[in-house]
């Protein structure tokens, strides 16, 4: 199942791109599992995604915890805690 990934702030900078299409294996069914799977891709990914405490996510443009299901979703975003306002 193809998922559109989007990255923001220093997550985007560490990975070196603002998004990509990924196709995780079938046993990757939650946001947290997706993060772990992506973190294995190499240095930039590990730096961006290695510390879940500093990481937040959204599934189909709604904030989601790491145990949220990603089955059937189209877009997943990863980013630092927000700092707007």
């Amino acid at each position: 199942m193809a998922i559109e990934m989007v990255y923001f702030a220093w997550v985007r900078e560490a990975i070196g791109r603002d998004g990509e299409t990924v196709d995780p294996p079938d046993d990757v069914t939650t946001l947290g599992a997706l993060v772990d799977w992506l973190a294995q891709r190499g240095d930039g990914y590990r730096e961006a995604l290695g510390d879940p405490d500093r990481l937040r996510g959204a599934v189909d443009q709604v904030f989601a915890p790491f145990d949220a299901s990603i089955e059937g979703v189209k877009e997943v975003a990863l980013f630092p805690p927000v700092t707007g306002g």
Binding site: F8, W10, T83, G84, G85
Partner: protein
């Protein structure tokens, strides 16, 4: 009930936003304006956001506020892109027949906007370079007040 939500790079006009809220025969209008600050080593601020999600997140907050308080108008304007120190960055305004509803809905919106809308601030330094602003524990504590 009028909900106005805008993301924009250009400066906004607080007077115009307030005039729109006051025009509704509401009786009470409350507003909050956030202004770009920064330590002496900061030259400017840059606001990144999540196009597609940001307006949805702000609309969800506005709808929650309109369910919890008796408000007749809600306005949220948030700037994105590069801002200079001293410039306004965010405006939240509310209109109601009752002052407590206007003030509390405004307070809720700015507190929750800080934790529940996908914006990220980067400080451009006078000495060159830039750093991402860290999220504040105090904002998370303020969020819990509304749970």
């Amino acid at each position: 009930m009028t909900i106005e939500i805008r993301l924009q790079q250009e400066q906004f006009d607080v007077a115009r936003e307030l005039a729109l809220l006051e025009a509704g025969d509401a009786g009470a209008v409350a507003s909050f304006t956030g202004i770009v600050r920064g330590d002496d080593d900061v030259e400017a601020l840059e606001l990144e956001h999540y196009p597609g999600m940001t307006e949805k997140a702000l609309t969800a907050l506005a709808e929650e506020a309109s369910e919890r308080w008796a408000v007749s108008g809600l306005t949220i304007v948030h700037r994105v892109g590069k801002l200079q120190k001293g410039e306004p960055i965010v405006f939240v305004g509310t209109a109601s027949a009752h002052r407590a509803d206007a003030i509390e809905a405004m307070h809720f919106l700015i507190d929750r906007l800080k934790t529940d809308a996908p914006f990220w601030k980067r400080e451009h330094l006078t000495a060159g370079g830039a750093r991402w602003v860290e999220a504040r524990q105090a904002d998370e504590a303020a969020r819990r007040r509304w749970m």
